[in-house]
Protein backbone atom coordinates (compact mmCIF):
# COMPACT_ATOMS: atom_id res chain seq x y z
CA UNK A 1 0.00 0.00 0.00
CA UNK A 2 2.77 2.36 1.07
CA UNK A 3 4.81 1.55 -2.04
CA UNK A 4 1.88 2.27 -4.32
CA UNK A 5 1.03 5.49 -2.52
CA UNK A 6 4.63 6.65 -2.78
CA UNK A 7 4.67 5.61 -6.43
CA UNK A 8 1.52 7.65 -7.14
CA UNK A 9 2.81 10.56 -5.12
CA UNK A 10 5.92 10.44 -7.30
CA UNK A 11 3.79 10.22 -10.41
CA UNK A 12 1.79 13.20 -9.18
CA UNK A 13 4.91 15.21 -8.48
CA UNK A 14 6.38 14.06 -11.80
CA UNK A 15 3.12 15.08 -13.47
CA UNK A 16 3.40 18.48 -11.76
CA UNK A 17 7.02 18.66 -12.85
CA UNK A 18 6.22 17.77 -16.42
CA UNK A 19 3.10 19.85 -16.70
CA UNK A 20 3.63 23.34 -15.38
CA UNK A 21 1.74 24.10 -12.19
CA UNK A 22 -0.19 27.02 -13.68
CA UNK A 23 -1.47 24.82 -16.52
CA UNK A 24 -2.62 22.14 -14.06
CA UNK A 25 -4.39 24.70 -11.88
CA UNK A 26 -5.98 26.24 -14.93
CA UNK A 27 -7.12 22.84 -16.23
CA UNK A 28 -8.45 21.74 -12.83
CA UNK A 29 -10.37 24.99 -12.44
CA UNK A 30 -12.00 24.53 -15.85
CA UNK A 31 -12.91 20.92 -15.03
CA UNK A 32 -14.32 22.00 -11.65
CA UNK A 33 -16.45 24.59 -13.43
CA UNK A 34 -17.76 21.92 -15.78
CA UNK A 35 -18.53 19.55 -12.89
CA UNK A 36 -20.46 22.36 -11.19
CA UNK A 37 -22.53 22.73 -14.35
CA UNK A 38 -22.99 18.95 -14.54
CA UNK A 39 -24.25 18.87 -10.94
CA UNK A 40 -26.60 21.79 -11.52
CA UNK A 41 -28.08 19.94 -14.50
CA UNK A 42 -28.34 16.76 -12.46
CA UNK A 43 -30.15 18.48 -9.60
CA UNK A 44 -33.01 19.20 -11.99
CA UNK A 45 -33.55 15.48 -12.53
CA UNK A 46 -34.72 12.64 -10.33
CA UNK A 47 -31.73 10.83 -8.85
CA UNK A 48 -30.78 7.72 -10.79
CA UNK A 49 -30.55 4.66 -8.58
CA UNK A 50 -30.26 1.01 -9.68
CA UNK A 51 -33.42 0.01 -11.50
CA UNK A 52 -34.93 -2.94 -13.32
CA UNK A 53 -36.01 -0.64 -16.15
CA UNK A 54 -33.35 0.06 -18.79
CA UNK A 55 -35.71 2.71 -20.17
CA UNK A 56 -35.32 4.68 -16.92
CA UNK A 57 -31.52 4.58 -17.28
CA UNK A 58 -31.66 5.71 -20.91
CA UNK A 59 -34.20 8.41 -20.08
CA UNK A 60 -31.98 9.76 -17.32
CA UNK A 61 -28.98 9.75 -19.67
CA UNK A 62 -30.92 11.59 -22.39
CA UNK A 63 -32.39 14.14 -19.98
CA UNK A 64 -29.01 14.86 -18.42
CA UNK A 65 -27.51 15.23 -21.89
CA UNK A 66 -30.28 17.62 -22.92
CA UNK A 67 -29.85 19.74 -19.78
CA UNK A 68 -26.07 19.97 -20.13
CA UNK A 69 -26.26 20.72 -23.84
CA UNK A 70 -28.79 23.44 -23.11
CA UNK A 71 -26.45 25.01 -20.58
CA UNK A 72 -23.43 24.75 -22.89
CA UNK A 73 -24.95 25.81 -26.20
CA UNK A 74 -21.89 27.85 -27.13
CA UNK A 75 -19.36 25.17 -26.13
CA UNK A 76 -16.47 24.83 -28.55
CA UNK A 77 -13.47 22.57 -28.82
CA UNK A 78 -10.78 24.16 -26.71
CA UNK A 79 -13.04 25.55 -23.99
CA UNK A 80 -11.44 23.29 -21.41
CA UNK A 81 -8.39 22.12 -23.32
CA UNK A 82 -7.25 25.62 -24.26
CA UNK A 83 -4.35 25.94 -26.69
CA UNK A 84 -1.92 26.34 -23.80
CA UNK A 85 -3.32 23.42 -21.79
CA UNK A 86 -3.44 21.24 -24.93
CA UNK A 87 0.21 21.99 -25.65
CA UNK A 88 1.11 20.98 -22.10
CA UNK A 89 -0.94 17.75 -22.36
CA UNK A 90 0.71 16.86 -25.67
CA UNK A 91 4.10 17.40 -24.10
CA UNK A 92 3.15 15.28 -21.06
CA UNK A 93 1.71 12.46 -23.18
CA UNK A 94 4.78 12.63 -25.43
CA UNK A 95 7.08 12.21 -22.43
CA UNK A 96 4.97 9.30 -21.08
CA UNK A 97 4.97 7.57 -24.44
CA UNK A 98 8.69 7.91 -24.95
CA UNK A 99 9.52 6.53 -21.51
CA UNK A 100 10.09 2.95 -20.41
CA UNK A 101 6.32 2.29 -20.54
CA UNK A 102 6.01 3.48 -24.17
CA UNK A 103 5.89 0.07 -25.88
CA UNK A 104 3.43 -1.23 -23.30
CA UNK A 105 1.09 1.74 -23.71
CA UNK A 106 1.18 1.55 -27.52
CA UNK A 107 0.53 -2.18 -27.32
CA UNK A 108 -2.37 -1.59 -24.94
CA UNK A 109 -3.89 1.01 -27.27
CA UNK A 110 -3.67 -1.35 -30.24
CA UNK A 111 -5.24 -4.29 -28.41
CA UNK A 112 -8.08 -2.28 -26.92
CA UNK A 113 -10.11 -2.26 -30.16
CA UNK A 114 -9.06 1.21 -31.32
CA UNK A 115 -11.79 3.44 -32.71
CA UNK A 116 -11.68 6.33 -35.16
CA UNK A 117 -14.48 8.80 -35.67
CA UNK A 118 -15.18 12.47 -36.08
CA UNK A 119 -15.68 14.22 -32.76
CA UNK A 120 -17.89 17.12 -31.87
CA UNK A 121 -18.08 18.90 -28.54
CA UNK A 122 -21.49 18.48 -26.89
CA UNK A 123 -22.22 15.42 -29.04
CA UNK A 124 -23.14 12.09 -27.48
CA UNK A 125 -20.49 9.39 -27.71
CA UNK A 126 -22.24 7.03 -30.16
CA UNK A 127 -23.71 3.92 -28.51
CA UNK A 128 -22.72 1.80 -31.51
CA UNK A 129 -19.01 2.62 -31.13
CA UNK A 130 -17.03 0.76 -28.45
CA UNK A 131 -15.41 2.82 -25.72
CA UNK A 132 -11.72 2.23 -26.09
CA UNK A 133 -9.99 1.49 -22.80
CA UNK A 134 -7.46 4.06 -21.66
CA UNK A 135 -4.05 2.57 -20.71
CA UNK A 136 -3.59 2.77 -16.94
CA UNK A 137 0.00 4.03 -17.26
CA UNK A 138 -1.28 6.94 -19.30
CA UNK A 139 -3.96 7.68 -16.69
CA UNK A 140 -1.35 7.62 -13.93
CA UNK A 141 0.54 10.38 -15.68
CA UNK A 142 -2.36 12.68 -16.51
CA UNK A 143 -3.94 15.17 -14.08
CA UNK A 144 -6.45 13.39 -11.86
CA UNK A 145 -10.12 13.87 -12.72
CA UNK A 146 -13.27 13.91 -10.57
CA UNK A 147 -15.56 10.88 -11.12
CA UNK A 148 -18.05 12.86 -13.24
CA UNK A 149 -15.63 12.90 -16.20
CA UNK A 150 -13.05 10.60 -17.72
CA UNK A 151 -10.28 10.58 -20.32
CA UNK A 152 -10.87 8.49 -23.44
CA UNK A 153 -8.73 7.89 -26.50
CA UNK A 154 -10.32 8.13 -29.95
CA UNK A 155 -7.76 7.70 -32.73
CA UNK A 156 -5.05 10.22 -31.92
CA UNK A 157 -7.39 12.42 -29.86
CA UNK A 158 -7.68 12.63 -26.09
CA UNK A 159 -11.32 13.08 -25.12
CA UNK A 160 -12.79 14.48 -21.93
CA UNK A 161 -16.12 12.67 -21.56
CA UNK A 162 -19.03 13.17 -19.18
CA UNK A 163 -19.47 9.67 -17.75
CA UNK A 164 -23.15 9.76 -16.79
CA UNK A 165 -24.36 11.88 -19.72
CA UNK A 166 -22.03 10.05 -22.16
CA UNK A 167 -21.24 13.43 -23.65
CA UNK A 168 -18.06 14.67 -25.33
CA UNK A 169 -17.09 17.63 -23.17
CA UNK A 170 -13.91 18.56 -25.03
CA UNK A 171 -10.97 16.94 -26.83
CA UNK A 172 -7.38 17.51 -27.86
CA UNK A 173 -6.63 16.73 -31.51
CA UNK A 174 -3.32 14.98 -32.28
CA UNK A 175 -2.72 14.27 -28.60
CA UNK A 176 -1.49 10.68 -28.99
CA UNK A 177 1.77 10.39 -30.94
Amino acid sequence: MLTLTVCWANARSQERGNLDAASIDNFEARVAEYVKLHNTAKEKLARLTPTDAPSAIKRHEHELTREIRGMRRQARQGDIFSAGISAQFRRLIGITMKGPQAARIQDSLQRAEPVRMELQVNAVYPASVPLQSTPPSLLLNLPKLPPEVDYRVVGDKLVLRDVEANLIVDFIPHAIP
Binding site: M1, P50, S108, S128, P136, L138, D150
Partner: protein, 305 residues
Protein backbone atom coordinates in the same frame (compact mmCIF):
# COMPACT_ATOMS: atom_id res chain seq x y z
CA UNK B 1 -44.62 -44.99 -51.90
CA UNK B 2 -45.11 -41.47 -50.58
CA UNK B 3 -46.18 -42.90 -47.23
CA UNK B 4 -43.05 -45.07 -47.07
CA UNK B 5 -40.81 -42.05 -47.78
CA UNK B 6 -42.67 -40.08 -45.11
CA UNK B 7 -42.20 -42.86 -42.56
CA UNK B 8 -38.47 -43.11 -43.34
CA UNK B 9 -38.03 -39.33 -43.12
CA UNK B 10 -39.95 -39.18 -39.83
CA UNK B 11 -37.84 -42.01 -38.42
CA UNK B 12 -34.66 -40.26 -39.48
CA UNK B 13 -35.81 -37.01 -37.90
CA UNK B 14 -36.76 -38.75 -34.66
CA UNK B 15 -33.42 -40.55 -34.58
CA UNK B 16 -31.57 -37.28 -35.16
CA UNK B 17 -33.64 -35.59 -32.45
CA UNK B 18 -32.89 -38.43 -30.05
CA UNK B 19 -29.16 -38.32 -30.79
CA UNK B 20 -29.20 -34.53 -30.33
CA UNK B 21 -30.90 -34.94 -26.99
CA UNK B 22 -28.41 -37.59 -26.00
CA UNK B 23 -25.53 -35.30 -26.99
CA UNK B 24 -27.04 -32.44 -25.03
CA UNK B 25 -27.69 -34.44 -21.89
CA UNK B 26 -25.60 -32.76 -19.20
CA UNK B 27 -22.55 -34.72 -18.18
CA UNK B 28 -21.37 -33.17 -14.97
CA UNK B 29 -17.71 -33.38 -14.02
CA UNK B 30 -18.01 -31.43 -10.80
CA UNK B 31 -18.10 -33.12 -7.42
CA UNK B 32 -21.14 -31.34 -5.89
CA UNK B 33 -19.56 -31.14 -2.46
CA UNK B 34 -21.83 -30.05 0.39
CA UNK B 35 -21.78 -26.30 1.13
CA UNK B 36 -19.55 -25.57 -1.86
CA UNK B 37 -19.67 -22.24 -3.73
CA UNK B 38 -21.19 -22.84 -7.17
CA UNK B 39 -21.32 -20.37 -10.01
CA UNK B 40 -21.22 -20.01 -13.78
CA UNK B 41 -19.05 -17.76 -15.95
CA UNK B 42 -20.06 -16.11 -19.23
CA UNK B 43 -18.55 -13.52 -21.54
CA UNK B 44 -20.59 -11.70 -24.22
CA UNK B 45 -23.77 -13.38 -23.10
CA UNK B 46 -26.54 -12.77 -25.63
CA UNK B 47 -26.94 -16.30 -26.91
CA UNK B 48 -30.09 -18.31 -26.51
CA UNK B 49 -28.52 -21.72 -27.09
CA UNK B 50 -25.73 -21.13 -24.55
CA UNK B 51 -28.30 -19.85 -22.05
CA UNK B 52 -30.48 -22.90 -22.66
CA UNK B 53 -27.52 -25.18 -22.09
CA UNK B 54 -26.71 -23.35 -18.84
CA UNK B 55 -30.27 -23.78 -17.63
CA UNK B 56 -30.10 -27.43 -18.53
CA UNK B 57 -26.89 -27.90 -16.54
CA UNK B 58 -28.37 -26.07 -13.59
CA UNK B 59 -30.76 -28.97 -13.08
CA UNK B 60 -27.78 -31.14 -12.13
CA UNK B 61 -25.45 -28.39 -10.91
CA UNK B 62 -27.55 -25.85 -9.00
CA UNK B 63 -25.31 -22.80 -9.29
CA UNK B 64 -26.42 -19.74 -7.33
CA UNK B 65 -25.00 -16.97 -9.46
CA UNK B 66 -23.27 -16.07 -12.71
CA UNK B 67 -20.34 -13.74 -13.26
CA UNK B 68 -20.43 -11.81 -16.54
CA UNK B 69 -17.11 -10.78 -18.09
CA UNK B 70 -18.32 -7.72 -20.01
CA UNK B 71 -19.85 -6.76 -23.36
CA UNK B 72 -23.07 -7.64 -21.62
CA UNK B 73 -25.27 -5.89 -24.15
CA UNK B 74 -23.24 -6.22 -27.34
CA UNK B 75 -23.95 -3.88 -30.27
CA UNK B 76 -26.94 -1.57 -30.01
CA UNK B 77 -28.11 -0.85 -26.47
CA UNK B 78 -31.71 0.30 -26.52
CA UNK B 79 -34.07 -0.71 -23.69
CA UNK B 80 -35.41 -3.40 -26.05
CA UNK B 81 -31.88 -4.81 -26.39
CA UNK B 82 -31.74 -5.49 -22.66
CA UNK B 83 -34.77 -7.67 -23.19
CA UNK B 84 -33.66 -9.56 -26.29
CA UNK B 85 -29.99 -9.85 -25.38
CA UNK B 86 -30.26 -10.61 -21.67
CA UNK B 87 -33.69 -10.90 -20.06
CA UNK B 88 -35.18 -13.30 -22.62
CA UNK B 89 -32.19 -15.64 -23.13
CA UNK B 90 -31.64 -15.92 -19.38
CA UNK B 91 -35.29 -15.87 -18.33
CA UNK B 92 -35.24 -19.43 -16.98
CA UNK B 93 -32.27 -18.65 -14.72
CA UNK B 94 -33.57 -15.22 -13.67
CA UNK B 95 -36.95 -16.74 -12.81
CA UNK B 96 -35.19 -19.26 -10.56
CA UNK B 97 -33.48 -16.44 -8.67
CA UNK B 98 -29.99 -16.89 -10.13
CA UNK B 99 -28.09 -13.62 -9.62
CA UNK B 100 -25.87 -12.11 -12.31
CA UNK B 101 -22.82 -10.01 -11.40
CA UNK B 102 -21.50 -7.99 -14.34
CA UNK B 103 -18.43 -5.98 -15.22
CA UNK B 104 -18.24 -3.42 -18.00
CA UNK B 105 -16.78 -4.30 -21.39
CA UNK B 106 -15.70 -1.88 -24.09
CA UNK B 107 -19.04 -2.44 -25.85
CA UNK B 108 -21.05 -1.54 -22.75
CA UNK B 109 -22.58 1.78 -21.83
CA UNK B 110 -21.03 2.49 -18.40
CA UNK B 111 -24.54 3.38 -17.19
CA UNK B 112 -25.30 -0.36 -17.27
CA UNK B 113 -24.04 -0.18 -13.71
CA UNK B 114 -27.50 1.13 -12.78
CA UNK B 115 -29.26 -1.90 -14.30
CA UNK B 116 -30.35 -3.81 -11.21
CA UNK B 117 -30.18 -7.35 -12.67
CA UNK B 118 -26.42 -6.81 -13.20
CA UNK B 119 -25.98 -6.28 -9.42
CA UNK B 120 -23.33 -3.58 -9.79
CA UNK B 121 -25.03 -1.26 -7.30
CA UNK B 122 -24.39 1.76 -9.52
CA UNK B 123 -20.60 1.26 -9.30
CA UNK B 124 -17.99 0.69 -12.02
CA UNK B 125 -16.11 -1.64 -9.68
CA UNK B 126 -17.26 -3.48 -6.58
CA UNK B 127 -16.76 -6.54 -4.43
CA UNK B 128 -19.00 -9.26 -3.03
CA UNK B 129 -18.58 -12.38 -0.97
CA UNK B 130 -20.17 -15.78 -1.33
CA UNK B 131 -19.25 -18.47 1.17
CA UNK B 132 -15.53 -18.47 1.55
CA UNK B 133 -14.86 -16.67 -1.71
CA UNK B 134 -14.37 -12.93 -2.14
CA UNK B 135 -15.00 -11.59 -5.65
CA UNK B 136 -13.63 -8.34 -7.04
CA UNK B 137 -15.40 -7.02 -10.14
CA UNK B 138 -13.18 -4.46 -11.90
CA UNK B 139 -13.59 -1.94 -14.70
CA UNK B 140 -10.64 -2.69 -16.99
CA UNK B 141 -11.83 -0.06 -19.49
CA UNK B 142 -10.74 2.66 -17.15
CA UNK B 143 -8.18 1.48 -14.61
CA UNK B 144 -7.54 4.89 -13.12
CA UNK B 145 -5.49 5.60 -9.97
CA UNK B 146 -8.68 5.76 -7.87
CA UNK B 147 -9.62 2.20 -8.82
CA UNK B 148 -6.08 0.87 -8.32
CA UNK B 149 -6.02 2.55 -4.92
CA UNK B 150 -9.41 1.04 -4.01
CA UNK B 151 -8.21 -2.42 -5.06
CA UNK B 152 -4.96 -2.10 -3.13
CA UNK B 153 -6.97 -1.10 -0.04
CA UNK B 154 -9.71 -3.69 -0.40
CA UNK B 155 -7.73 -6.82 -1.33
CA UNK B 156 -6.09 -7.15 2.09
CA UNK B 157 -9.55 -6.95 3.69
CA UNK B 158 -10.74 -9.98 1.75
CA UNK B 159 -11.64 -12.18 4.67
CA UNK B 160 -12.04 -15.32 2.60
CA UNK B 161 -10.23 -18.48 1.67
CA UNK B 162 -10.28 -17.63 -2.05
CA UNK B 163 -9.92 -14.30 -3.83
CA UNK B 164 -11.18 -14.07 -7.40
CA UNK B 165 -10.93 -11.04 -9.67
CA UNK B 166 -12.92 -10.67 -12.87
CA UNK B 167 -12.87 -7.97 -15.53
CA UNK B 168 -13.13 -7.58 -19.30
CA UNK B 169 -9.63 -7.20 -20.79
CA UNK B 170 -7.30 -10.18 -20.49
CA UNK B 171 -3.86 -9.92 -18.92
CA UNK B 172 -2.88 -13.10 -20.76
CA UNK B 173 -4.49 -14.23 -24.01
CA UNK B 174 -3.26 -15.88 -27.18
CA UNK B 175 -6.15 -14.87 -29.36
CA UNK B 176 -5.02 -13.11 -32.52
CA UNK B 177 -7.74 -10.44 -32.65
CA UNK B 178 -6.99 -8.69 -29.33
CA UNK B 179 -4.48 -10.59 -27.22
CA UNK B 180 -3.15 -9.55 -23.82
CA UNK B 181 -3.14 -6.03 -22.43
CA UNK B 182 0.45 -5.62 -21.28
CA UNK B 183 -0.05 -2.23 -19.67
CA UNK B 184 -3.02 -3.43 -17.65
CA UNK B 185 -1.02 -6.49 -16.64
CA UNK B 186 1.89 -4.33 -15.49
CA UNK B 187 -0.44 -2.42 -13.16
CA UNK B 188 -2.69 -5.21 -11.91
CA UNK B 189 -0.56 -8.32 -11.61
CA UNK B 190 1.80 -6.92 -8.94
CA UNK B 191 -1.28 -6.11 -6.81
CA UNK B 192 -2.72 -9.59 -7.43
CA UNK B 193 0.56 -11.24 -6.47
CA UNK B 194 1.07 -8.98 -3.46
CA UNK B 195 -2.38 -9.69 -2.03
CA UNK B 196 -2.63 -13.36 -2.98
CA UNK B 197 -5.33 -13.27 -5.65
CA UNK B 198 -5.99 -16.87 -6.64
CA UNK B 199 -7.93 -16.78 -9.89
CA UNK B 200 -8.63 -14.21 -12.62
CA UNK B 201 -11.40 -14.43 -15.22
CA UNK B 202 -11.44 -12.16 -18.29
CA UNK B 203 -13.34 -11.86 -21.57
CA UNK B 204 -12.77 -9.51 -24.55
CA UNK B 205 -11.36 -12.18 -26.88
CA UNK B 206 -14.09 -14.33 -28.40
CA UNK B 207 -12.43 -17.62 -27.48
CA UNK B 208 -11.89 -19.86 -24.47
CA UNK B 209 -8.41 -20.21 -23.05
CA UNK B 210 -7.02 -21.53 -19.80
CA UNK B 211 -3.56 -20.16 -19.11
CA UNK B 212 -0.91 -22.02 -17.17
CA UNK B 213 -0.43 -20.27 -13.81
CA UNK B 214 1.47 -17.03 -14.14
CA UNK B 215 3.26 -15.74 -11.06
CA UNK B 216 1.22 -18.20 -9.06
CA UNK B 217 -2.14 -16.96 -10.37
CA UNK B 218 -4.67 -18.98 -12.40
CA UNK B 219 -6.02 -17.15 -15.47
CA UNK B 220 -9.01 -17.93 -17.67
CA UNK B 221 -10.22 -16.11 -20.80
CA UNK B 222 -13.84 -16.66 -21.74
CA UNK B 223 -15.31 -14.18 -24.19
CA UNK B 224 -17.23 -16.55 -26.41
CA UNK B 225 -20.53 -17.28 -24.70
CA UNK B 226 -22.41 -15.23 -27.27
CA UNK B 227 -19.90 -14.30 -29.98
CA UNK B 228 -17.22 -16.46 -31.52
CA UNK B 229 -14.07 -15.88 -33.57
CA UNK B 230 -13.41 -19.26 -35.09
CA UNK B 231 -9.74 -20.32 -35.19
CA UNK B 232 -8.62 -17.03 -33.62
CA UNK B 233 -6.53 -18.75 -30.97
CA UNK B 234 -2.76 -19.15 -31.44
CA UNK B 235 -1.90 -21.36 -28.47
CA UNK B 236 1.53 -20.87 -26.95
CA UNK B 237 3.53 -22.61 -24.24
CA UNK B 238 1.52 -20.53 -21.74
CA UNK B 239 -1.73 -22.11 -22.96
CA UNK B 240 -2.99 -24.97 -20.83
CA UNK B 241 -6.13 -25.45 -22.93
CA UNK B 242 -7.77 -23.52 -25.73
CA UNK B 243 -11.03 -23.80 -27.63
CA UNK B 244 -12.24 -21.55 -30.43
CA UNK B 245 -14.70 -23.51 -32.55
CA UNK B 246 -17.88 -23.04 -30.55
CA UNK B 247 -19.37 -20.83 -27.88
CA UNK B 248 -18.74 -21.83 -24.27
CA UNK B 249 -19.61 -21.12 -20.67
CA UNK B 250 -18.00 -22.34 -17.47
CA UNK B 251 -19.27 -23.95 -14.31
CA UNK B 252 -17.17 -23.53 -11.20
CA UNK B 253 -17.36 -25.18 -7.82
CA UNK B 254 -15.18 -24.19 -4.87
CA UNK B 255 -14.92 -26.48 -1.90
CA UNK B 256 -12.21 -26.03 0.73
CA UNK B 257 -8.92 -25.47 -1.02
CA UNK B 258 -10.04 -26.91 -4.36
CA UNK B 259 -11.59 -25.13 -7.32
CA UNK B 260 -13.28 -27.45 -9.80
CA UNK B 261 -14.20 -26.19 -13.23
CA UNK B 262 -15.96 -27.46 -16.30
CA UNK B 263 -16.11 -25.58 -19.59
CA UNK B 264 -19.07 -26.54 -21.76
CA UNK B 265 -19.81 -25.79 -25.39
CA UNK B 266 -23.11 -24.57 -26.78
CA UNK B 267 -23.67 -28.11 -28.05
CA UNK B 268 -23.27 -29.42 -24.51
CA UNK B 269 -19.91 -31.12 -24.77
CA UNK B 270 -17.22 -30.59 -22.15
CA UNK B 271 -14.23 -28.89 -23.74
CA UNK B 272 -12.14 -28.52 -20.60
CA UNK B 273 -12.35 -29.51 -16.97
CA UNK B 274 -10.05 -29.76 -14.02
CA UNK B 275 -9.29 -28.97 -10.45
CA UNK B 276 -7.07 -26.19 -9.17
CA UNK B 277 -5.52 -26.32 -5.78
CA UNK B 278 -5.52 -23.13 -3.78
CA UNK B 279 -2.05 -21.65 -3.81
CA UNK B 280 -0.28 -21.48 -0.48
CA UNK B 281 0.92 -17.99 0.41
CA UNK B 282 4.46 -19.18 -0.26
CA UNK B 283 3.72 -20.65 -3.67
CA UNK B 284 4.43 -17.98 -6.23
CA UNK B 285 5.87 -17.77 -9.70
CA UNK B 286 7.77 -20.71 -11.00
CA UNK B 287 6.84 -23.01 -8.13
CA UNK B 288 3.11 -22.67 -8.73
CA UNK B 289 3.67 -22.79 -12.48
CA UNK B 290 5.59 -26.05 -12.21
CA UNK B 291 3.04 -27.51 -9.82
CA UNK B 292 0.08 -26.98 -12.09
CA UNK B 293 1.52 -26.88 -15.61
CA UNK B 294 -0.45 -29.10 -17.91
CA UNK B 295 -2.83 -30.03 -15.15
CA UNK B 296 -6.08 -31.67 -15.98
CA UNK B 297 -8.89 -32.94 -13.90
CA UNK B 298 -8.31 -36.51 -12.83
CA UNK B 299 -11.84 -37.28 -11.84
CA UNK B 300 -13.21 -36.91 -8.36
CA UNK B 301 -10.04 -37.71 -6.49
CA UNK B 302 -8.89 -34.09 -6.39
CA UNK B 303 -5.60 -34.93 -8.05
CA UNK B 304 -3.56 -33.52 -10.87
CA UNK B 305 -2.73 -35.66 -13.82
Amino acid sequence: MRRAVLVILTSLLLAQHASLNAAQKPVLKLPLRPKSVRFAVIGKPEQYETAKQMASYRDTFPFEFVIMLGDNIYGTETPADFKTKFEEPYKALLDEGVKFYAVLGNHDDPNERFYKPFNMGGERYYSFKNGNVQFFALDSNYMDPAQLDWLDNQLPNANANWTICFFHHALYSHARFHGPDADLRARLEPLFAKHGVNVVFSGHDHVYERIKPQNGIYYFVLGNAGQLRVHDLRPSKETAKGFDTDRTFMLVEIAGDKLYFQTISRAGSTVDSGVLKKQSSASTGAAAHAAAAGSGYAGMDDGYR
